[in-house]
């Protein structure tokens, strides 16, 4: 029975194949459902072993690079065909960390370029914890929203992990754009952010579209509209919090003892 596992699954879902480690995980799950073979550790602590998560890191270098290159192309819609559409967490996690580092770097560069001639450069480091928390929450919550929306239109081929994967890879466009954002010209900065908004939204919608081809029009537009609204919200947050030029004193709000000084500065500036 276990030998036919891969064939059975591939009949049900022709576009989504299973890798070896997924097959082994499934075999292990089926063995574990037999109550005699389960130890207590296997019943409750499976979540804490590394082997449980190894399935989601089963990628090769070429696969990751191919997915990243595909993510830069907003119209191709072939993201889920690369490597058989297997969800993975390596790409999203490290793209996220690179993005956090890049945005922190570019925020500091912007501040450096705005120095008056006599001032000493003070790096802004409090932004990093806030930035990190914002990015991690965004990457956790937004794919859940997408998955809930897809479930509402009864689309079950894209699981939650697929949503994590595609959302993580869609953030790749932001990395070079945030480096370019340190150019002091405000017009260029706005144009770059509009480009990112457009590129990410069309990448996500064209890939969801492949899976959504068979739905009636209203449901399709609902999904597309949801994606666009979420992206616009996040872009507005980027622009007005991280890349805005008058916000750097306000970022010091997290430090208690600077509070009165900062409040006076804000009231004075407004």
């Amino acid at each position: 029975m276990l030998d036919n596992l891969n064939q059975d699954v591939s009949i049900l879902q022709p576009s989504l194949q299973m890798t070896d480690s997924q097959v082994q995980n499934r075999i292990r799950q089926m063995k574990m459902e037999d109550p005699d073979e389960q130890t207590c550790y296997q019943k409750f602590c499976n979540l804490f072993t590394i082997e449980y998560y190894r399935e989601y890191f089963d990628v090769t270098t070429e696969l990751v690079i191919a997915k990243v290159v595909n993510a830069f192309n907003p119209f191709s819609g072939t993201f889920f065909d690369i490597g058989g559409g297997i969800p993975e967490l390596y790409g999203p996690f490290w793209i996220l960390n690179t993005l956090i580092f890049t945005i922190a770097l570019s925020v500091n560069i912007i501040k450096y370029m705005q120095l008056q001639p006599g001032e000493h450069f003070e790096y802004q480091f409090e932004i990093v914890p806030f930035l990190a928390i914002f990015m991690y929450l965004k990457t956790l919550i937004v794919p859940m929203i997408y998955r809930v929306a897809l479930k509402c239109v009864s689309q079950d081929r894209l699981t939650l992990l697929h949503c994590f994967t595609i959302y993580g890879y869609s953030a790749v466009v932001m990395i070079p754009i945030s480096l370019l954002n340190s150019i002091p010209n405000p017009a260029i900065q706005w144009m770059l952010l509009v480009y990112v908004l457009f590129a990410q939204t069309s990448f996500l919608t064209s890939n969801f579209n492949q899976e959504l081809k068979y739905l009636p029009k209203e449901k399709k537009y609902m999904i597309v509209g949801l994606v666009a609204v979420v992206q616009i919200t996040i872009m507005i947050l980027y622009k007005f919090y991280f890349f805005s030029s008058f916000n750097y004193q306000q970022l010091g709000l997290v430090k208690k003892r600077m509070n009165t000084h900062i409040l006076q500065h804000i009231l004075g500036a407004n």
Binding site: F57, T61, Y123
Partner: protein, 202 residues
């Protein structure tokens, strides 16, 4: 601690003798023995020509070396941080300390998840020892940095970053299967890049 410097005990009574010897030796001897071991490991890790046995020495991992280098780096950078900037000295110290240990943890976890079969602390030990060039660079910049233009400061930063990355990449790449090497190496690169950048701008 590591007893390879002393003779191997043949029986239980000799082990007892060694233990009392250990307690009876002066504090400076104990400390010098540990320092010599750290220096030996450091030369082994950072100068690749000294590795004749392909990294087997690293199986005797220890965390004293990484701790000393982490503390030295954190103290150097927090010493340089003014109290008038937004980040005070204690913030910088805490950030560096947490960053090195959590970063080493995450990078090792990543290598293990990609299928590497190395002991966890071996990898943390190696990453900690490779922080030493960043230490050198932080000290250089702390003492002569205010007199140099930015571009001249970049030169030791780049050299030390390349040295750290090169020493640890050889080990990390040998842990994972061949088609995943770059995937395991990239987080190491990002880790040292962040540390170098941080020591440059503080």
């Amino acid at each position: 601690m590591d007893y390879t410097n002393q003779k191997n005990p043949q029986n239980y009574s000799q082990m007892e003798d060694l233990k009392t010897l250990d307690l009876e030796e002066s504090v400076s001897e104990t400390i010098m023995r540990d320092l010599k071991m750290i220096a030996y490991k450091l030369k082994y890790v950072l100068i690749p020509k000294e590795q004749e046995d392909n990294g087997k020495e690293l199986r005797n991992w220890d965390l004293w070396g990484p701790l000393i280098f982490c503390l030295a780096l954190a103290m150097t950078l927090s010493f340089k941080a003014d109290s008038t900037t937004n980040s005070s000295k204690s913030d910088v110290f805490a950030i560096i300390f947490v960053l090195i240990w959590v970063g080493a943890f995450v990078v090792t976890l990543n290598a293990q998840l990609l299928g590497g079969k190395v002991s966890f602390f071996q990898s943390v030990c190696l990453l900690g020892y490779c922080v030493f060039p960043i230490n050198i660079e932080a000290i250089i910049i702390a003492f002569v940095g205010s007199y140099l233009p930015f571009v001249v400061k970049l030169i030791p930063v780049i050299i030390c970053f390349a040295w750290s990355a090169y020493s640890s990449v050889g080990f990390m790449a040998s842990l994972v299967p061949p088609h995943k090497k770059k995937l395991a190496v990239y987080p190491v690169f990002l880790f040292y890049l962040f540390l170098s950048w941080f020591s440059l701008i503080v």
